[in-house]
Symmetry: C2
Subunit: 223 residues, 2 copies
DNA sequence: CTCACATTGTGAAAGTTTTCACAATTCATT
DNA sequence: AATGAATTGTGAAAACTTTCACAATGTGAG
């Protein structure tokens, strides 16, 4: 017996996972447009990377293309979808129904296959106990019970910076394993919770800097 | 005489610039709270990095701290502000007054010292020729003239993906040198224009992946 | 005044990510 | 069938980023 002692599941970098998600989005379009096959350099063009990088990324999920013909769109899309976990499957919670929160609700709602925000929370009574863009809005007091009831594992934080850590702690205790954080404050959480920060002000300041000084190529990318 | 032939202005990485912007934000708070000095490890805690990294970052702008006492908050803030170009100085344009665009307008408006959105554009007549959150909204047809008139160098794109490249081209021709792009499409522009992509869907998918699989530490960060 | 200590500044090591470059493979055409 | 052109898969190099670790340096206590 003894656990098979896997070759220690090769861990895949955050960067690579992000790009794989992009490839999925692109392939969804290609398949919709009835494209049969696609070359690495075409994918590179559509995501802003290099062909070599596309091939390397696809290597990690064991995708196979054929020389001179490239990758089969449908097959590759299926591989990516399986690898990344089906979209639409994951239920997402939103905390903070302010200006940004409402934009995200309308966005989630519109996305075709995308991730779905199924519950939103706020502390302001006038924002709760209603349905916005098809999503039920609850008072923050019910956060734990709703998250557990619906077995939600992913959340988005869109509350003011001062409230972010408190909200994050509660989410983590309620069982959330991954958070997208829009508040400009670092979250201190156990490493079992994955956090992705989106800091719009920081991005703007970067752009201001490089717009003023000489630019720095528009390489790499994305949040 | 002869131009001093600078030691070839050491080019500073995008990552570092982003963190310097974070330090500035943190220091603004510290100064507001009348803190005299700050240690590298305190800054690290408040931005989610390591003390060594903070020191290395500050090194590139030639900041000086004193052993055992750390950095002088006021002086460091001044150095950062000078290095990054004064905030509030830079005028920003917004293209796309949809759900996200309006959230950004209200945000810009609220930010204390922050970057200021001074002109917004949309193609829909019902969104233009009014003032939202203190920002004048114009029809997209007037983009070139307004941008040139106000000498705007930085813009935010918040239009649907299909329109993004077209808008970007027009911005670049009008003289914009840096763009924050929220549309999930890569922009192909001359390298003299700096582009920072913020891809919310990609970030969410990353979080979904790492929430499902074992996590990957909440290291590094931000957009 | 001297000592013990906390902290900076930084060269060098370690780690990570991207790019290069090329053999192997497939397909279209002759 | 053989040739040539295009493209994949991937080891190895290059480039870049972070961490380590420690000498140098102020600071405050005794
Ligand atoms: N608006 C933007 O475009 C934008 C862009 C980038 C980042 N952000 C960040 O996103 C966050 C939200 O921004 P916003 O513009 O939507 O602000 P907002 O003030 O419009 O909305 C914040 C919402 O959070 C709610 N809230 C406050 N404390 C709470 C708590 N403890 N629990 C639950 N809900 C609480 C408020 O009632 C409000 O509805 C802020 O941290 C902001 O810095 C906003
Ligand atoms: N809403 C979100 O939370 C969110 C999050 C991440 C990314 N995004 C992306 O940001 C962009 C905008 O999202 P949104 O939710 O605000 O969409 P939206 O449909 O609410 O707004 C888009 C706006 O762009 C305008 N527009 C369309 N074509 C234009 C053109 N050629 N020139 C000028 N204006 C034009 C429309 O009139 C509309 O007002 C999209 O690319 C979306 O994928 C949105």
């Amino acid at each position: 017996m003894s656990a098979p002692s896997y070759p220690e599941a090769i861990l895949i970098s955050e960067r690579t996972i992000g790009r794989l998600a992009q490839y999925r989005r692109i392939l969804t379009e290609l398949v919709r447009d009835n494209l049969e096959t696609v070359h690495s350099h075409q994918l590179a063009l559509r995501c802003g990377g290099s062909a070599a990088q596309v091939r390397r990324d696809l290597m990690v999920i064991g995708a196979e293309g054929s020389p001179n013909k490239g990758y089969k769109c449908a097959k590759l899309l299926a591989s990516l979808a399986e690898f990344l976990t089906q979209p639409g499957t994951q239920k997402v919670a939103l905390v903070g129904i302010g200006n940004l929160g409402r934009a995200l609700l309308s966005y989630s709602h519109k996305q075709q296959p995308g991730l779905l925000i199924v519950a939103a929370f706020d502390i302001a009574p006038d924002k709760t106990n209603k349905v916005i863009d098809g999503c039920r809005c609850f008072h923050i007091d019910t956060l734990e019970s709703v998250i557990k009831e619906q077995n939600i594992k992913v959340a988005i934080i869109a509350v003011p910076g001062e409230a972010a850590q408190l909200v994050a702690d509660r989410l983590a205790i309620a069982g959330v394993r991954g958070i997208v954080n829009f508040a400009p404050a670092p979250l201190h959480l156990p490493p079992s919770v994955f956090v992705e920060n989106i800091d719009v002000t920081m991005s703007l300041e970067k752009v201001v800097y490089f717009a003023a000084k000489g630019t720095q190529s528009e390489r790499n990318k994305s949040a």
